[in-house]
């Protein structure tokens, strides 16, 4: 409290004492938000002004970037040395292609239309399976989380089906669906579906009941509650489900493509093995890794954009 005086004034305006009481606390709250180097700014504005790039890079970020580079470099050095000296102690580098061979392969094949077709097939299947999983998993999860009877109805089936890995669905899926595309998308969907569903249910359960009561007493209908309270309240948990679901979806997709596929990066990689084209195997692997990285990065960015309030949530800073 800066001063007790205004509180004593009988002809008190509505705002003065309250701000005296809280103004002291406010800068503290906003101060802890930006990184340590920004302490020169006493009160962080709502939208901090962009300062030159170099000024905003902190020592901490430089160290983090250097360590990141070092770890990736180590991977390549081990790979390079292993293939250069054809190391053989239990693991065998005998047939492993060198980084340069893979690079060559990437230049030769990477821009060919056949390879790009494979990539496009995988991306299309992932997006289809993933978005169908969102379309079914999120609404169903919200309903299961909100209504006991819906949970009673669906949870037994879910508990039975959930432990079956998506890959185990491959033979059944081929029988079930009329064509190869549908069965691969189905397997991808299965991989993404359960993490999304269960995290959505969890998000609804974890929502503070007082927010639901606040929504109802402010006049929200049941439908409005779903749209304006339950969905945004469960959103952080839903995004956890999306991130996990995307990872499992890729695992499932690649396995499905390797087993039953035509086209796709998984198919490309397995075919390279069959054709004894070793550099292409590694190219396929790297492509899968990069695509997975891009997908989970996209989810993270979408999460940041859709949930800007999380930057201030308790526990968001270490």
């Amino acid at each position: 409290m800066p001063s007790p005086e205004p509180v004593k004034t009988p002809t008190l305006s509505l705002v003065a004492p309250a701000d005296a009481a809280t103004a002291a606390a406010t800068p503290l709250v906003t101060m802890s938000k930006p990184p340590a180097a920004e302490t020169s700014q006493p009160v962080a504005p709502v939208k901090p002004k962009m300062r030159p790039l170099l000024e905003r890079v902190t020592r901490d970020q430089v160290v983090a970037a250097l360590l990141g580079c070092a770890s990736i470099l180590t991977l390549f050095v081990v790979w390079y040395l292993g293939t250069k000296y054809r190391l053989e102690f239990y693991i065998r580098f005998k047939n492993v292609p060198t980084p340069y061979e893979v690079f060559q392969q990437a230049v030769d094949v990477g821009l060919s239309s056949a390879f790009l077709t494979n990539v496009l097939y995988s991306v299309k299947r992932i997006l289809l399976g993933f978005f169908i999983a969102i379309g079914i998993g999120v609404p169903l999860g919200l309903a299961i989380g909100r209504y006991k009877r819906v949970a009673n109805l669906f949870m037994p089936v879910i508990e039975i089906l959930r432990p079956i890995p998506a890959i185990a669905w491959v033979p059944m899926s081929i029988m079930l669906w009329p064509n190869n595309e549908a069965s691969i998308v189905y397997i991808t969907f299965i991989g993404a579906f359960f993490p999304i569903l269960l995290n959505t249910v969890h998000g609804v359960h974890a929502l503070d009941g007082v927010l639901i009561r606040a929504g109802r007493v402010l006049g929200a209908s049941e439908l409005q509650l779903f749209r304006h309270v339950i969905l945004p309240g469960a959103m952080p948990s839903i995004f956890t489900g999306l991130a996990v679901g995307m990872g499992v979806a890729w695992v499932s997709l690649i396995a499905a493509e390797m087993i039953s596929g035509q086209f796709g990066v998984g198919y490309f990689t397995w075919e390279a093995y069959s054709l004894v084209n070793y550099p292409a195997i590694v190219l396929g692997m790297i492509t899968i890794g990069v695509l997975g990285l891009v997908c989970s990065g996209a989810i993270r960015i979408a999460g940041k954009l859709l949930m800007p309030w999380l930057a201030f949530a308790p526990g968001s800073k270490k």
């Binding site: 004593k8 009988p10 003065a16």
Partner: protein, 295 residues
Amino acid sequence: MDTQTGHVDVRNVGVVFGAGDTEVTAVNDVNLHVEPGEFVSLIGPSGCGKSTILSIVAGFLNPSSGAALCDGKPIAKPSSERGVVFQQYSLFPWLTVRKNVEFGLRMAGVDQSTRNVTARSLLDLAGLAAFENHYPDQLSGGMKQRIGIIRALATSPRVLLMDEPFGALDTQTRVVMQEILTNIWQQFRISVLFITHDIEESIFLSDRVYVMTARPGRIKAEIKVPLPRPRTPDMHDAPEFVELVHELKGLIREESLAAMAPEIKQGGLAGFGMKVGPQSVGEIYGSAPDALRKN
């Protein structure tokens, strides 16, 4: 605002939680009323059923017996006609301050520009105009509760129900919040049912104070506060104020002790170093034999 609406009537209300072995009678035969434009407090020891009463008036809970009416109509479910300020912080963390204030109007289908105007004027009133684009997690506890109050007022309810809204705040902030609330009330003249366990708070804010007994809660006493309006902080030192504090303290003390009576009998409180002498428990024993004998 029409001062003829906002009449709350709680008639012979009883609430029983659970069944069989776990049955708990939370409140028993409670009668109270709030007149249009009146500020009424409900005070009592913790666990006596204050929140239970408020839940019934809000429409979250149906009484096991008796009835609650608002302007003559039975209360069946929550409605924006009866605004609630909760004890816990209950702002939607995903909405900015202004969007939180607009929430009720948005649910009612009020258009964006009208919502904006209403929210801005309320934010001005609460001294929070500068924070309209902040998120709740960026604010102090006192600010959050002020927004909770104006969010509840935005839909122009007939009654405002407040459940220990300042209970989580530190003492200095609480005193300031009481002044802000009494000033806001002065402008709206809305009916308020205010729950607290803070004696001075209840006197400073209210026209009338109901005192509840320990569980199962009943209305033990009803006290009129003769202090003039508008209330100002210097009234804390007025002789009537001090006298009322003294009177209420006596009433509450009896109930708090009654609530703890089994422990006192087992010497529990003496074991915690509580002095059992003429100035403390002994005096109360003497002055409140009924309350203790009941248990």
